[in-house]
């Protein structure tokens, strides 16, 4: 029901005198029920790509097809979760979930809406906070609400832009587990696109990892994740296979970086210091250092 086909997709940011190409001729096919991660350093166009898929941004070229139909703006078949939660702070936890339902599933009665909202608030473990306002909750709790809202509307496609980027390691791991178990428990699995720059997160969650590179944002490489589901964190990460695979991904990062760095040295002479390359470097180094 929800294949995504991206064809020659380019997205530009126009300033008055010049335009900047954030995504350049991206081609990507995602199967129904597939969990795909977009992995890449800061500035390589992940957010731009995912918000274009959601319909929040108009491409400057190319098309996003969903089930063969080109999209024209946002739609009831997609929901999105952002890094900074983006809850409506003036609505309680339950109201936030209900508001999403009211928009995307207007056919529901008030009672049904309330029941579904409560069901999902419970699923993310926040029943006792259902009448609290988001700003009184921790970051992890707020992100649970955002996940509840995105899942409750039951769109076949779920888009997530670094949803766990602002959380500490432990909360992050528990929300990854929560997301996977909710995703797997559905009879009709959602198609998920998940943006991250954390290698381990990408491996643990996805069926396939799409590695992107910046300047302009392109797909560098696509890699299928060889681990079977259900995945149990400790069981996977301790294996030799995992270490080898993880290295493969990190190497792909390096190769992408080399190409960019080469690409960029020419520019650097004329354009001066490039913050994109610097953050790319430090990001990669810390990813390696964070491993064993």
């Amino acid at each position: 029901m929800s294949r995504i086909n991206i064809r020659d997709l380019s997205v530009e940011y126009g300033t008055k005198n010049k335009s900047f190409k954030a995504v350049d001729r991206v081609n990507l096919d995602i199967k129904e029920g597939e969990f795909v991660s977009l992995l890449g350093a800061s500035g390589c166009g992940k957010s731009t790509l995912i918000s274009t898929i959601d319909g929040l941004r108009r491409p400057s070229g190319g098309t996003v097809f969903i089930d063969g139909e080109p999209i024209s703006g946002t739609g009831k078949d997609r929901s999105i979760v952002f890094q900074n939660y983006s809850l409506f702070p003036w609505m309680t936890v339950k109201k936030n979930v209900e508001f999403g339902l009211r928009q995307l599933r207007p056919e529901l009665s008030k009672k049904e809406r309330s029941d579904i909202a409560l069901e999902f608030v419970e699923k993310v473990g926040l029943s006792e906070f259902k009448n609290k306002y988001p700003l009184k909750l921790s970051g992890g709790q707020q992100q649970r609400v955002a996940i509840a809202r995105a899942l409750a509307v039951n769109t076949p496609i779920l888009l997530m832009d670094e949803p766990f980027g602002a959380l500490d390691t432990k909360t992050r791991a528990s929300l990854q587990d929560l997301l996977l178990s909710l995703w797997r428990s559905e009879e009709k699995k959602k198609t998920v696109i998940f943006v991250t720059h954390d290698v381990d997160e990408a491996i643990f969650l996805s069926d396939r990892i799409v590695i992107m590179q910046p300047n302009p944002g392109r797909i560098y490489k696509e890699v299928s994740v060889p681990f079977s589901r259900p995945r149990i964190r400790e069981n996977i990460t301790d294996t030799e296979e995992y270490k080898i695979f993880r290295n493969e991904i990190i190497n792909a990062f390096y190769e992408a970086e080399k190409e960019v760095a080469y690409h960029d040295t020419e520019k650097k002479i004329s354009a001066g210091n490039s913050p994109v390359v610097r953050s790319f470097n430090s990001g990669t180094v810390s990813a390696v250092a964070g491993g064993r």
Binding site: R78, S86, F88, Q103
Partner: protein, 294 residues
Amino acid sequence: MFAVLILVQFLPSRAEDNEHKFYLIAAASAAELVFLLLSAFSSKKDFLRDFGNILSVIFFVFTAWTILAPKTLILDPLIFPAPGEVLWQFTADIDKLSQGAASSLKTVFSGYIYALVLGIPMGVILGSFKNIRSSATYVVNFAGAIPPIVFVPYSIALLPSFDVVSKFIIFLSAYWPIMKGTIAGVSSVEKGILDTARSLSVRTGSLLLNVIIPSALPNIFAGAAQGLGVSFLMLTSAEMIGGQSGIGYYVQYYAKFADYPRVILGIIILGIIICLISVLSAGLQKYFLRWRNT
């Protein structure tokens, strides 16, 4: 504090007219009694503490006043009459005062309501459309910078009565802060929140009602509170310049006859009214912005 106040009343006085001090004693006793009853039966600790504090401050002021004016004559008793005198005047003038207060409130709110009713929608429009906003900025900044009181002569020439002039000036002075607050709130809705709303395909009407206005509410409240403050300022000025009614007029009128108990009484009543309104508006704000993290 209560005991001190009562004691002070019985000190030998150097002024003649202290026959009204029993009004003060009665009022203070009544207040103290209410407080004691409340402490005995109510369990709202915060409220009791605040109430007790306010009462102590009032008693302290009256004590100081009693000592300075009628007892020792450090202050001229003609200009600073005994507190009992003022209280007596209150009981005598209660009709006049409540009429004055009603008239003042009516004037201030009829101006203020128009400012809300026009200022908020205008602010929403200017806040939502960047094009209109950027071309209107200079007009808004220029017109908003002019102190509304300078329009009084013009308004008197153009408008049918001084009452209408007062309302218009109040409207004008509250309008700008309200509109500016609304613009600031509406134009600064967080991008993630707007994107989320767009992603949920929220329609324009619902977007305005459920997303943009609630998000702008803190700024709207700030503008409205500022507007209310200026409104009272303008109200009193207008009443004292050329009004025929209201508390400001009462003060101005009796000042001409050097009737200082009434002047002080008017000032106190005005203060109380403004305090009550601020408490009310702070309460409304606290309720409507209860979702904020403060």
